[in-house]
Each structure stands twice: as structure tokens, then as C-alpha cells.
């Protein structure tokens, strides 16, 4: 103990034999004004806080704060998630359904309270603490056995070494010892370092294993930790179920019910028919129509025969006030439900149609173009269009169970806008848009003229000076440069046909926003953009005449989806290789020969060709963009 003089004094403790003497001593020390004190006992002693003068802890307030925070988080989170951000009907309960929110709120309250209590306790006690200078005293070990200790810290404002020692002696401390700062090394023992290293390494192993599994293949099926979470027993759409008598897993609307938030008193709104007028013309049909809304269709007795006695008085006008928001809504629904078949432009050449043609499906009937004059509003009332959307017509199914009533009317409004877009004059546009459009139109016309010029010159050169390769090299060049300048590059090859399809996108895209469209215009223009391209090719595809030209160049682009092979194939125009060979073959007999036309055929053919694959691989990518862009640009 020679070197204790150099060490800093940390405090003084006294030893006691019994809890009663300790408590008495605590009170004396407290009354003497010491505050940085502590008592160590082998077991919890009731009342020792009071004896030591320790103020009540702030922990309850921490816990209260945490608990209230948990409640607030729980309530707000659910209100936000289920009521505002993603309103979703669960079990037929309202969006804001307090009873359903309570369990989560309760759990979060408890969780945060427990965290507050546990971590708050640790923080208030300044734990974890690895060591305490009093541990350096060997006698102190008996604090966990049979001795009681009272400790006064040297940092106490009233601390005075001699005075404290005397006081502790006076109040019955049997053994009074000074406690010095612990000067032992703070270096972490090697064993602990090694242990941590090993643990850290072991902790990485699972991550490495996972990482490795991410990049390796295995013939074994995946291991499912939670099988029923990976494969939910929930039924998917269009599946069967033994739960219901009709075997359908998807349940139709309960007859006579309306989905939440969609109730409207007006039956006309649901049928698209002016029921008052219908009742005047044909009472039974009107009754029948109302009844089908209320009872299952099978139960509703059929009306008088198949032939309606009188013409149906469809609602001529959309009952919803047309606004930009309504059209946007209608466009969204149209592109979700209708465009796959009817196409984004409504010409009946959607992706499904394209695919059906690609695989030469014989069963597919091309959907009607919405741009037939017989479908215009003056001859085809809005109510009838609504009814068709709701109930279907010919091969088209009804979408009444999928699109809400209000949205169906929005779709009707959008279809009208689409139709208008194909027949709009320049004067229909807002004034500030006209100049822009005229300028673009002039640009396109100028480019077309230039290209026609180039074509003509090339033809002349080919005929005259017979430097064929040079001409051929020169030809693609002008076609490429405008393409990069977002000009209608693909138009080039189709020059003869250009008169017809080229203006089509122009008129279609621009007036697609007949309403005082602000910025929606560019979007509207961009979306149909994908269409005009396909719109051009299927048509020529049926005609054998243009097939000789490198026209199919534009065709693969719309296929957009898988078919990279055909895309690469025609563009390079490496002479009439496989591309024309495969293409024209199925053409003459699309309807009669469904079988051999199956999809795999066209694909492997070009795939085997090494030539198109290697070189033009870069080109089609560059081309794929212009294929879509020109329409947007025009």
C-alpha cells in the first residue's frame, strides 16, 4: 500500500454488521448533508432510499412518456395507413375503425413502456458499468454475503477526508477504509479480443452463406422456412374452391348490394338507361331491369321474349360532369382494363391482339376499333357504351364487377375524348398549343420532303452511276441522323405508305387532349405513342405487297415485350435472309392454319443466325427508341 498516496481518493466506506445499524448510519449521514452516498447490502432493504435521502426516481415519468408515445404512434400509424394512405376495407369494417386499432395501439404502448422502463433504468443508473473502484477493496466482497456497507463519494461537495472518517466511526462503522481510483490497466484482455473476433467472424458466416446462395444455382427445390407464408392458402383469381356450391373462389357481388362508397340513388346511373322513359315504352323490361339489379340474374324472370318491344332509351349524355380529373381517371381505368385488347389508342390493336396475331390464334376476334363512326356519340349513346362496359357485348366480357360504376362513366368520357382526338381540327386546340403543333407539323413535313429527296437522288444514282455499295452506305446514313434528332426515322423505309400512317400519329397524339389540357398533354401524347407504331405494321402485314420492302423494320418494335430476336433481324437489312422468309410464309394463311404457327417457330430461326446477333446487336437498341419516339415527337 505504499503507492496509495499517489492514487486519487475516490471515497470512503464503512462496514456495518446489521441492517438496523446501517439504516441508522444512513440517516445520520443524510442529516449531515451528504448527498453522493450509496449503501451496499446483501439483500434489498425497504426504506433505505428514504434513509439515504435519495429523491424519488424520474423513471415513472419516462415510462409514462414512452407509453403515451407508443399509443400515439399506434393510433396515428393505423389511421394513416388504413384510413388515409391506403384505404382498404378489412373484414367489412370502416377505414377508421377504433376497436380494430386498439390491439396494436395497446401492444405498442406496452412495448415502448417496457423499453422506457428498462433502458430508462439503465440510463438513470449509468449502467452498464464494468467496474467500480470499491471492488478493489477485498473486504467489500462481503457486501454480497453478510456485511453492510455505507459509502461516501469523494466528489460530494461536503466531502472532507478526516471529517468523513470520523463521522463514519462515530455512527458505528466497524471498518473504515479509503477507496482509491482504480489504476489498473484498462487494456482489454487478449482473450476477450479473440473471443470478440471469433464471434464477429461467426456472425459473418450466415451472411456469407446467404450471399453465396444468392449467386449459385441448385437443382434442389427451395427450402421454405414458413411454408404457408410462401404459399398462402388464399385463393387466387379465376380459381376453384370447394367452399362454395358454385365452385368459384371469386365471389360475385351479393345481389342487391352496392360496394361501400358507391351507392347512388339514381338507378339510371347504374344502368345507363333512362328508366322513366323505358317504363313508358316497355313496362316489363323496365321492371325486369330494376329487378336484375336486386336479385340474382337467374332468379329474375326473363322479360317478354328476346326481342325488345321498343328501342332502349339509353342515356344520351354522361351523367358525370366531364372534367380533366374525370378524363384522367377514365384514362387510367381504360389503360388498365380496356387497352390490353382495344389498344391505348382504341383502334382494337392492343397487346393481346398483337400477341394473338403473333401466334396466329384462330380463336381471337380482333376487338372493335372505337373509332368507327357507328360508335360515335350521335349514333351510339353514352348510356349504351356504359352498358357495354358493364355487361359486355359479343365476345367481350362485362367489366361491371371490376370497374366501379363511377369509373365506368369515367371510361365512357375518356372514350369520347379518344374518339374526338381522331377527328379534331387544328382549331379545336387551345390557341397556345396551335403554334407549337403547326411548327412540329412543318418540321415533320420538311424532313419527309428531305427524305423523299434523298430517296429520289439515291434511286437516280443507283440507276445512273452504278456505284451500288456507296449508295447503300449513304442511304442508311440520312436515316440514322434524323433518328437521333428524335425525328421520325422509321418513316423512311415506308415512304410510299408514309402518307397514310405518318399523319395518323400526328393528329392522334396531339388532339388527344381536346379539353384545356395543361401538362397532361405530353403524357397523353406519349402513351398513345407506343400504339401508332404497331398500328402501322399489322396492317401491312396482312398485305403481301409491302412485305418485299424492308418494312417489317418497324414491326418488332411494338412487340416491346420479349421478341428481341425479330427486332434484331429485319433492321440490319442484310439482304432477304430469314426474316422475309419466315414472315411472309405464315401470312397467306393466318386463319386457316392455327397449328404450325405456334410461337416457338419464328424465334429460333433468327436465333440461329450468328450474323444478325453479333453485329446489329447494338443497333436495334438504338432503333428501339426512335421507334417509339417519332410518334411522341410528332
Amino acid at each position: 500500500m505504499t503507492d496509495t498516496q499517489e492514487k486519487k481518493l475516490h471515497g470512503v466506506y464503512a462496514e456495518f454488521d446489521a441492517v438496523d445499524t446501517l439504516l441508522a448510519a444512513c440517516r445520520r449521514v443524510r442529516d449531515a448533508g451528504y448527498t453522493r452516498t450509496d449503501a451496499y447490502t446483501p439483500f434489498p432493504v425497504h426504506g433505505i432510499e428514504k434513509a439515504l435521502g435519495i429523491r424519488p426516481t424520474a423513471l415513472p415519468w419516462i415510462v409514462l412518456g414512452c407509453g403515451l408515445t407508443g399509443s400515439a404512434i399506434g393510433i396515428c400509424m393505423q389511421v394513416w395507413m388504413n384510413g388515409i394512405n391506403y384505404p382498404y376495407i378489412i373484414s367489412g369494417k370502416p377505414f377508421y375503425s377504433i376497436p380494430a386499432f386498439i390491439p396494436v395501439t395497446f401492444e405498442l404502448t406496452i412495448l415502448l413502456s417496457a423499453f422506457g422502463a428498462f433502458f430508462g433504468m439503465l440510463a438513470l443508473n449509468r449502467l452498464p458499468k464494468f467496474s467500480n473502484p470499491v471492488f478493489t477493496s477485498p473486504r467489500f466482497d462481503r457486501a454480497t454475503d453478510d456485511k453492510f456497507f455505507l459509502y461516501i463519494d469523494a466528489s460530494d461537495p461536503r466531502f472532507d477526508h478526516n471529517g468523513v472518517t470520523r463521522l463514519l466511526g462515530d455512527i458505528g462503522g466497524t471498518e473504515i477504509q479509503d477507496v482509491y481510483e482504480d489504476n489498473s490497466s484498462t487494456r482489454v484482455p487478449t482473450a476477450i479480443k479473440v473471443a470478440f473476433g471469433v464471434l464477429a467472424f461467426l456472425a459473418i458466416v450466415p451472411l456469407l452463406a446467404v450471399a453465396r446462395m444468392r449467386v449459385t444455382n441448385s437443382p434442389n427445390p427451395r427450402f421454405h422456412v414458413f411454408y404457408d407464408m410462401d404459399f398462402s392458402p388464399a385463393k387466387g383469381p379465376q380459381t376453384t374452391s370447394t367452399l362454395f356450391a358454385d365452385g368459384r373462389a371469386m365471389r360475385p357481388d351479393v345481389p342487391g348490394t352496392v360496394a361501400v362508397g358507391q351507392f347512388d340513388e339514381d338507378p339510371n346511373f347504374y344502368t345507363g338507361v333512362d328508366l322513366d322513359e323505358l317504363a313508358r315504352r316497355d313496362q316489363t323490361r323496365a321492371v325486369h331491369l330494376v329487378r336484375t339489379m336486386q336479385v340474382p340474374e337467374a332468379e329474375a324472370a326473363p322479360a317478354s321474349g328476346d326481342q325488345p318491344a321498343a328501342e332502349t332509351p339509353w342515356l344520351a349524355k354522361n351523367p358525370r360532369p366531364v372534367s380533366l380529373a374525370l378524363l384522367e381517371r377514365g384514362r387510367m381505368q381504360f389503360e388498365i382494363y380496356c387497352a390490353t385488347c382495344h389498344g391505348n389508342d382504341g383502334r382494337g390493336r392492343g397487346l393481346v391482339t398483337a400477341r394473338a396475331q403473333q401466334i396466329l390464334s384462330s380463336a381471337w376476334v380482333q376487338p372493335s376499333s372505337l373509332h368507327q363512326e357507328t360508335l360515335y356519340q350521335d349514333v351510339y349513346p353514352d348510356g349504351k357504351l356504359f352498358s357495354v362496359i358493364s355487361n359486355g357485348i359479343r365476345k367481350m366480357g362485362g367489366y361491371g364487377s371490376q370497374i366501379s360504376v363511377r369509373d365506368r362513366w369515367a371510361v365512357v368520357a375518356y372514350v369520347r375524348a379518344l374518339q374526338l382526338s381522331q377527328n379534331a381540327a387544328l382549331e379545336d386546340l387551345p390557341v397556345n398549343r396551335r403554334n407549337d403543333l403547326s411548327r412540329r407539323k412543318a418540321e415533320v413535313e420538311q424532313q419527309l420532303a428531305e427524305q423523299a429527296e434523298a430517296e429520289r437522288r439515291r434511286a437516280e444514282e443507283a440507276a445512273g452511276t452504278t456505284t451500288a455499295p456507296a449508295a447503300e452506305e449513304a442511304a442508311p446514313a440520312p436515316a440514322e441522323t434524323p433518328a437521333e434528332a428524335a425525328a421520325p426515322a422509321p418513316v423512311t423505309p415506308e415512304q410510299p405508305a408514309a402518307t397514310e400512317p405518318a399523319p395518323a400519329p400526328a393528329t392522334e397524339a396531339a388532339p388527344a387532349e381536346p379539353a384545356p389540357a395543361a401538362d397532361a398533354e405530353m403524357e397523353a401524347a406519349a402513351t398513345p405513342a407506343a400504339e401508332p407504331a404497331p398500328a402501322t405494321e399489322p396492317a401491312p402485314a396482312t398485305e403481301p405487297a409491302p412485305a418485299t420492302e424492308p418494312e417489317p423494320a418497324t414491326e418488332p418494335a411494338p412487340a416491346a415485350e420479349p421478341a428481341p430476336a425479330p427486332a434484331s433481324e429485319p433492321e440490319p437489312t442484310p439482304s432477304p435472309e430469314p426474316a422475309p422468309a419466315t414472315e411472309p410464309a405464315p401470312e397467306p394463311a393466318p386463319a386457316t392454319e392455327p397449328e404450325p404457327a405456334a410461337e416457338p417457330e419464328p424465334e429460333p430461326a433468327p436465333a440461329t443466325e450468328p450474323q444478325p446477333e453479333t453485329e446489329p446487336a447494338s443497333e436495334p437498341e438504338a432503333d428501339a427508341e426512335p421507334a417509339e419516339e417519332p410518334a411522341a415527337a410528332s
Binding site: 441492517v19 438496523d20 439504516l23 425497504h46 426504506g47 432510499e49 428514504k50 415513472p60 409514462l64 373484414s91 367489412g92 369494417k93 376497436p99 380494430a100 386498439i102 390491439p103
Partner: protein
């Protein structure tokens, strides 16, 4: 051990006797209670009634409410005594006799149950609709289902079960009361050991009896409704009320000069904590029972809540949320409140009042979709008040006649309880 050293007073200290001012209340309370009970019943039968089952059923429902009010207090006190022995608790010895005083009322309450048994034998379904043979037809219950129900809900089987419940509960209550009293004289430690040893099986029997008694006596008021949680719900309310009654009893005894030095702030603090805990527990159970039925939304289950949430009972349901949970929850949250005996007493009185609303909310809607008007409310209040007067008067009379001390004076854990400190 601590600042104030507790001197154990001699067993015949006058402060351990029932205060004379309270003992004098026994007969007036008993007679007054009986009178009120009678007035309430007559009011219900002749003023409210127009001779049909409705008036009779309303009166009997009010009677059942009053009976269950007192019975649940005694039941909770029995549980309190059992659980203290089961845990070998030290702190509670000074308040245990108060619980034992109310617990020993169970045999007497068994006599008050006789009118309920009698109505169960009446064919008209005076109280329990299942005793009416026409119930199934009137409510469109399929005959097969009803036949199965009737195997359990038949008058004779109901009677057998009720008698078994009451006899078993009485036996447990008498056993614990007698041993505790004998210890007052002899101070044998073996008595405590025996009570502890038997408390385990007794608690098991208690829990089963409580659950099934709740099913039989209260849940079968709506014969087609079932909730497996219902027994726990009644238990939660019962134990909550018992703690409130113990606090009230101790406070009243102290205010009349008895056990002033024995029961300290620390014991009130513990009772307050238990009150707080059981307020929360009651809410937890009540909500759990509700939310499952509400979420499932099956007509067979929802109709019970339908009658209570819609119509004139609706406001009562919402009041229960605030008055049976939120206010006492917030009011008992702080330890500063729980460490003030007067405030613990006040909250206990409050909870005793709210417990009546809870029970009326369980029983009365089956008899009347409204409150039965002013006469109906008066009937229910008078009957319950009378029953409580009879109950308290009877207990006081018994204590005075048997010279029962208000403290288990020779309990081996009494010194521990006296020295008890929370912190």
C-alpha cells in the same frame, strides 16, 4: 427494522374489536335493507307490471342484479383470501380479516339465491328464457339445436349445479374463516400451513365454479349467446370490486377507531395498486370479449352486444368505457394518489358504484330494451340498495354476535405485515 417500530398489541386490545358505532348499525341496516328490497320488488311487480311476464322478469332481473352485486363482492373476497394464502403473502395480513368478513357471507347469500332458483322452475321463463318451452319457436331456433341446449339448460340440472356451486363455495369460505378465527385464540402456525396447503386446490375449484356460475346465472339470460370469456369477465369485475370493498371496509373501521396503528399508508398503497391493476384487467377482458365478437361479426354472437350498443343501452356501454376504465385508470395511475388513504377510499367507493352499472348492463338489457322507465330504474336501484343493506347489516350482525376481531391477531405473519413498506 424501520423508523417506527411496531409494537404488537395484545390480542384483546379494544381496537381489534368491531367498533360499537358500526356494530349498532347492524340491525337498522338489515331491517332497512329488507324493507327497501321489499319496496323495490313490490314497485317492480305492481307498478311497473301490467300483469305480463315483462314486469315480473324485470323485477327478477333487478333482484338478480342485486344478488350478483353482493355475491361478486363476497366471491372476490374469497379469492383474495385464497390467493394471499397461496402466495404466502405477508403484507395483506392486516386487511385479510375484512375480506374474510365479507367472504363468510356466501352461505347466507345462498339463501338469497332461492328466489332465483324458484323462477328457474317456472314455465313462463320469468327470469331465464330457456325455462320457457316456447322460446325456441318464438325465436326461430332450430329444434335440434334447442334440444342440445336444453340438455344443459334444464331446470333440474341448473338447480343441481347452483346448489353445488353454493355448497362448495360456502364450504371453502367457512373452512378458511374458522381456521383463521381459531388462530386468533391459539396462534397455531400449523393452521396457517394447513390453509396454505389447501389454497391451491381451493383456487382451482374457485376458478371453475366462478366461470360456470357466471355461465349459468348470467350468461344463460341470453340462452343462444355464448362467450367462453364471460366467466373471466365476471371474475375480473368481482375481484376489482372485492379490493374496493376491502379498502372501504378498512377505511371505515379506521375512521371508527379500529386498527388505526396496524393498517398504514403502505397497505392502502398496495390496495390502490391492485385496484389499478384490476381496473386494467377488467378493461382488457371486457375489450377482448368485445373485439372478437365485433370482428367476427357473426349474428349468433353479436346480438348480445347489439342490444347493449344500440338503443337506449348504447350510452351505458360508452359510459362504461369512460367510467369503468378511463377515469379510474387515470385516477389511480399516480402513486401519490395511491398513497393517500382518503383518495383510495374515494376511488373504491366510486368503483363500487360503477360495478353496479356494469352488472346492470349485463343483466337488465335481457329484460328490457330500455331501462323500464323511471319506475324501472327506481326498482333496480331500490332492490340493489336493499340487498346491500341486508348484506352489510348481516355481516355486521354476525361479527357482533360472534365477537369476531377485525384483525387476525395471532397470525404468524402479522409482524411482517405491520412492518410492511412498499419501497
Amino acid at each position: 427494522m424501520s423508523e417506527h417500530t411496531h409494537k404488537l398489541k395484545p390480542a384483546d386490545d379494544p381496537s381489534f374489536q368491531l367498533p360499537a358505532s358500526l356494530a349498532a348499525l347492524a340491525v337498522p341496516l338489515g331491517i332497512g335493507g329488507a324493507a327497501l328490497l321489499l319496496v323495490g320488488i313490490l314497485l317492480g311487480l305492481f307498478v311497473l307490471s301490467d300483469g305480463d311476464v315483462g314486469g315480473k322478469r324485470f323485477t327478477m332481473s333487478a333482484y338478480l342484479t342485486g344478488f350478483m352485486y353482493c355475491f361478486t363482492i363476497s366471491l372476490g373476497c374469497l379469492f383474495f383470501v385464497l390467493i394471499q394464502h397461496l402466495c404466502r403473502a405477508g403484507w395483506s395480513v392486516v386487511v385479510r380479516r375484512v375480506a374474510e368478513m365479507m367472504m363468510i357471507a356466501i352461505p347466507a347469500l345462498g339463501l338469497l339465491f332461492i328466489p332465483v332458483l324458484v323462477t328457474a322452475w317456472s314455465d313462463s321463463g320469468t327470469l331465464y328464457p330457456w325455462s320457457n318451452p316456447g322460446y325456441a319457436d318464438a325465436h326461430g331456433v332450430p329444434a335440434g339445436v334447442w334440444a342440445e341446449k336444453l340438455r344443459y339448460l334444464s331446470s333440474d340440472w341448473f338447480t343441481v349445479r347452483s346448489v353445488v356451486y353454493l355448497v362448495l363455495l360456502s364450504a371453502i369460505a367457512i373452512y378458511y374463516f374458522q381456521l383463521s378465527r381459531r388462530q386468533d385464540e391459539t396462534g397455531e402456525i400449523t393452521l396457517t400451513e394447513r390453509m396454505q396447503a389447501r389454497s391451491g386446490p381451493a383456487v382451482i375449484a374457485f376458478s371453475l365454479i366462478t366461470s360456470f356460475a357466471a355461465f349459468d346465472w348470467l350468461m344463460s339470460l341470453a340462452p343462444m349467446w355464448f362467450s367462453t370469456m364471460f366467466g373471466v369477465y365476471i371474475f375480473a369485475g368481482s375481484v376489482l370490486t372485492a379490493h374496493a370493498a376491502i379498502a372501504v371496509g378498512v377505511y371505515l373501521l379506521q375512521s371508527r377507531g379500529a386498527i388505526r396503528d396496524e393498517v398504514t399508508v403502505e397497505h392502502y398503497h398496495d390496495l390502490g395498486k391492485l385496484l389499478f391493476g384490476f381496473v386494467t384487467f377488467w378493461t382488457y377482458i371486457a375489450f377482448s370479449q368485445f373485439v372478437l365478437i365485433w370482428y367476427g361479426n357473426i349474428p349468433e354472437e353479436t346480438h348480445w352486444y347489439y342490444t347493449r350498443l344500440l338503443g337506449s343501452w348504447g350510452p351505458v356501454s360508452y359510459l362504461l368505457i369512460f367510467f369503468h376504465w378511463l377515469f379510474p385508470f387515470l385516477g389511480l395511475l399516480s402513486r401519490h394518489i395511491r398513497r393517500k388513504p382518503a383518495l383510495v377510499f374515494a376511488w373504491s367507493v366510486y368503483l363500487l358504484l360503477v360495478h353496479f352499472v356494469d352488472l346492470a348492463w349485463i343483466v337488465m338489457p335481457e329484460a328490457s330494451t330500455n331501462f323500464g322507465g323511471a319506475v324501472g330504474v327506481a326498482t333496480a336501484l331500490l332492490v340493489t340498495l336493499g340487498m346491500v343493506g341486508l348484506y352489510v347489516g348481516g355481516i355486521l350482525w354476525f361479527m357482533r354476535a360472534k365477537q369476531v376481531r377485525v384483525l387476525p391477531v395471532r397470525d404468524p405473519r402479522l409482524p411482517e405485515s405491520l412492518a410492511f413498506e412498499n419501497i
